[in-house]
């Protein structure tokens, strides 16, 4: 079974700063997906970014980028020029490919607070 660990239960930074959320995982699979999901206060969870394990290039979506270190089983999320709207719970998730619909494992989440 896979495990996903987010070691930072809560983080707080000032608006416009850069912040990095950490995520590590444990798996014996060689091919898989990794995700960061965002859950704003009282709003539904949405996908922030996705990384395919066989791709060495780190995924980027506007101000959001990841640092994917496959050997270290690390998948951190960097948010540049943070904005008040980035305040949310962030969940790291692992999905094994071809493992069935239940192959998705979430971390416990990091509550990110952007201070004005």
């Amino acid at each position: 079974a896979q495990t996903v660990t987010q070691s930072q239960p809560e983080m707080s930074v000032q608006e416009a700063e850069t912040v990095t959320l950490s995520c590590t995982y444990d798996t014996s699979e060689s091919n898989y997906y990794l995700f960061w999901y965002k859950q704003p206060p009282s709003r539904q969870m949405i996908l922030v970014i996705r990384q395919e394990a066989y791709k060495q290039q780190n995924a980027t979506e506007n101000r959001f980028s990841v640092n994917f270190q496959k050997a270290a089983k690390s998948f951190s999320l960097k948010i540049s020029d943070s904005q008040l709207g980035d305040t949310a719970m962030y969940f790291c998730a692992f999905m094994k490919i071809g493992g069935g619909a239940d192959g998705l494992t979430f971390g416990k989440g990091t509550h990110l607070i952007i201070q004005p």
Partner: protein
């Protein structure tokens, strides 16, 4: 955009009541999921379904059942609600077996309080 709609945002029920949480998606997704979200515990999978009338247990199925009679609808049932089932329940759906198909689309959540 895929839309996943959960029928109730907030529910208050009494211990022993039968509770139905309904979820409907409008984009012909094969997979549907019910998660439970508790502070400090993240998301835990209760049940999922990969086709009509097909279901499989997730990590914490005890005390819950599900029904999927139509592709677009996935219901979570608490046969006899208990206070330890007070939680946020999230429904999600996804495509299956296609490139880029593994992203989950979530509903807004149903916050259930059992008194």
């Amino acid at each position: 955009d895929v839309k996943v709609t959960q029928s109730s945002r907030y529910l208050v029920k009494r211990t022993g009541e039968k509770v139905f949480l309904e979820c409907v998606q409008d984009m012909d997704h094969e997979n549907m999921f019910w998660y439970r979200q508790d502070p400090g515990l993240g998301l835990r999978l209760i049940y999922f379904s990969y086709d009509v009338k097909m279901k499989e247990k997730g990590d914490i199925p005890e005390g819950y059942s599900v029904s999927r009679e139509k592709k677009e609808r996935f219901s979570l049932i608490l046969e006899s609600a208990s206070t330890n089932q007070t939680s946020m329940y999230l429904c999600a759906s996804s495509l299956w077996g296609r490139a880029g198909a593994n992203v989950l689309t979530f509903g807004a959540g149903s916050r259930l309080t059992v008194l």
